[in-house]
């Protein structure tokens, strides 16, 4: 396959995935009715189903694309092909916020409380990780950041365990399900919030693509090639972290998208970030849309958490990639 053809095929995946995800589901409605509803006609039932599925597909696209771009960015910044968006403890902070809201029964106040608390928790984790790293070293050192991420993550794990140990069984169940991620019940409001965060963040990171190319071979070389190393690092870390935080807030902790999508794309299209970042956004979107389709169809009418699907798909794919990159 020629390189341009491969790029076009990869770029078309989210459109195809969205089409399939809107037309297929557990409800016994003919695809023709759904297609008609999508175009404004169709039966009442078909229209209701389309109204449920379209925001869900859009939310999955935004979250999946955002996580994949954040993952690719962290990989370049940390010069580690196995880095992923949660590597700096963001998921732990978000989960702590969400679990606190669930345990305190604050979800009754409004459906917005949980995403907000998760987002605040993620921000707290980001502030802690960068605070620890900067206290140790004026510049943002890769090794110090990774260690700070591990330590802050461990702290939040302990906090979650503490909260859950004194919570009721039903809270524990909701918390565990939230932590495995879901885009079920996505509203247009959720889509709007996710878009408002994801699209500008992805645009900023795309603008840094060439600088990320330079940084991925080392900070000293990047400086000799004319990159504003500290400035690029600061911007990219903050933007990629906020992107991850927004994704976690609206959809919970969904693993593997941010790890395997950019990792696999690097093997297929190379590590040119001007190509890699936009393709990560598109393929990450397609991947999560299809994972969500699996989440709501594999067990019939029973929903599986989307993070379970991404892990079940991600682990074997990851092992294959690992074998390939070692060969």
């Amino acid at each position: 396959m020629t390189r341009p053809l491969r790029l076009v095929l990869l770029a078309a995946t989210p459109v195809a995935a969205a089409g399939v995800a809107i037309l297929v589901g557990s409800a016994p409605v003919p695809a023709g009715d759904l297609l008609a509803a999508l175009l404004g006609g169709g039966t009442d039932l078909a229209r209701r189903i389309v109204d449920l599925r379209v925001p869900r597909v859009l939310l999955a696209s935004l979250v999946g694309g955002g996580l994949a771009v954040a993952g690719a960015t962290f990989q370049a910044l940390l010069r580690n092909p196995l880095a992923e968006p949660y590597i700096l403890g963001i998921s732990g902070g978000a989960a702590t916020g969400a679990v606190l809201v669930l345990a305190a029964g604050l979800t009754a106040v409004g459906s917005w409380t949980l995403p907000l608390a998760a987002f605040v928790g993620a921000l707290l984790a980001i502030v802690l990780v960068f605070g620890v790293a900067r206290a140790a070293d004026r510049r943002l050192d890769v090794r110090v950041l990774l260690l700070a991420g591990v330590v802050v993550g461990a702290f939040f794990s302990a906090a979650i365990a503490l909260i859950l140990s004194v919570s009721q069984a039903s809270t524990v169940r909701s918390a565990v399900l939230w932590m495995m991620g879901s885009v079920a019940g996505a509203s247009w409001g959720d889509v709007g919030v996710a878009a408002a965060y994801t699209l500008p963040a992805v645009a900023v990171l795309l603008g840094l693509a060439r600088s990320l190319d330079l940084l991925s071979v080392g900070e000293e070389s990047a400086a000799y090639l004319g990159a504003d190393v500290e400035g690029v690092k600061r911007t990219a870390y903050v933007v990629a972290s906020l992107l991850t935080a927004a994704g976690v807030a609206v959809a919970g902790v969904i693993g593997f998208v941010g790890l395997i999508v950019p990792h696999a794309l690097r093997l297929v299209v190379g590590s040119h970030h001007r190509v890699l970042l936009p393709l990560s956004a598109l393929v990450g979107a397609a991947f999560l849309v299809l994972a969500d389709l699996g989440a709501r169809t594999l067990l019939g009418a029973t929903e599986i958490p989307i993070g379970v699907v991404t892990a079940f798909v991600g682990v074997p794919v990851f092992l294959v990639l690992l074998r390939r990159s070692m060969a």
Partner: protein, 270 residues
């Protein structure tokens, strides 16, 4: 381009002894200037401080008469191409893409490559004898091939000065000679070349002037024939040597003698 250091002191965080301890240096325009010295004598730190990636504790470094801290990094990279000793290659980047990074100082973050850029990249690939590798991933290259690709990236910057930290460390004789001839040629065309190396004999053959470093200090400076004195070299390298004039090359050669430990000069002073 010229490089100067005045009383340059650099100390890395957490270490007691300074890596550079009051270095004075003046690299004139258009010369091939070699920096020699034992492991840990401060050669790489001198490169980093001269190019402004580590801040001095005292003293100053200047490029073309202007303090290095006053240079914008992209502007500096349009004038000076540098190849550090080691580099991480965690991702499968194509050779051509790595060399194309040398155009960043000219293009900036978003402008696409034009004909000038493509010509500079092709020329650099050819001069370093790596054009046939252009589509290969840098992760599949041999150590010597990777070195040449990294030098090609610095040439693609079309700089007026080159600074290289042990660029021929893992090269075979053919590529070692090819790279040194290339650097000599560049110097003859007016590019200032600052070369950090352990190769005493080749430095003597190719360099115009030599700086000998020890324990973060400049110990001797001058043309090779003047710096290469058995007494100075033995003191710096703490090993008995003999210096002979090589009739074939007209340059001094350093022959390390095999000596019983008792005959060796004393181990490093504190």
């Amino acid at each position: 381009m010229t490089f100067e250091a005045r009383d340059l002191v650099v100390r890395y965080p957490g270490s007691r002894a300074p890596a550079l301890d009051g270095v004075e240096l003046s690299v004139p325009d258009g010369l091939l200037y070699a920096v020699l010295g034992p492991n840990g004598s401060g050669k790489s730190t001198l490169m980093r401080a001269l190019l402004g990636v580590v801040p001095p504790e005292r003293g100053s470094a200047a490029v073309d008469g202007r303090p290095v801290a006053d240079w914008d990094r992209r502007e500096l990279a349009r004038h000076v191409g540098a190849v550090p000793q080691a580099e991480a290659m965690p991702f499968p980047v194509a050779v051509r893409d790595l060399v194309a990074m040398g155009r960043f100082p000219h293009l900036g973050p978003v402008r696409p490559e034009g004909p000038t850029d493509r010509a500079a990249i092709d020329d650099a690939l050819r001069r370093c004898d790596v054009a046939h590798l252009r589509a290969r991933s840098v992760q599949t290259l041999s150590g010597g091939e990777l070195q040449r690709v990294r030098i090609a990236r610095a040439l693609a910057q079309q700089p007026r000065a080159l600074v290289l930290d042990e660029p021929t460390a893992s090269l075979d004789i053919r590529h070692e000679m090819a790279i040194l001839s290339l650097l000599r040629e560049a110097a003859d065309e007016g590019t200032t070349v600052l070369l950090i190396t352990h190769h005493l004999d080749l430095a003597a053959r190719f360099a115009d002037r030599i700086l000998l470093m020890d324990c973060g200090r400049a110990v001797a400076e001058g043309p090779p024939a003047q710096v290469y004195e058995a007494g100075i070299l033995e003191e710096v390298y703490r090993w008995p040597v003999e210096v002979r004039m090589d009739d074939a090359t007209g340059a001094p050669r350093v022959i390390p003698r095999s000596a019983a430990p008792a005959e060796r000069p004393a181990e490093p002073r504190p």
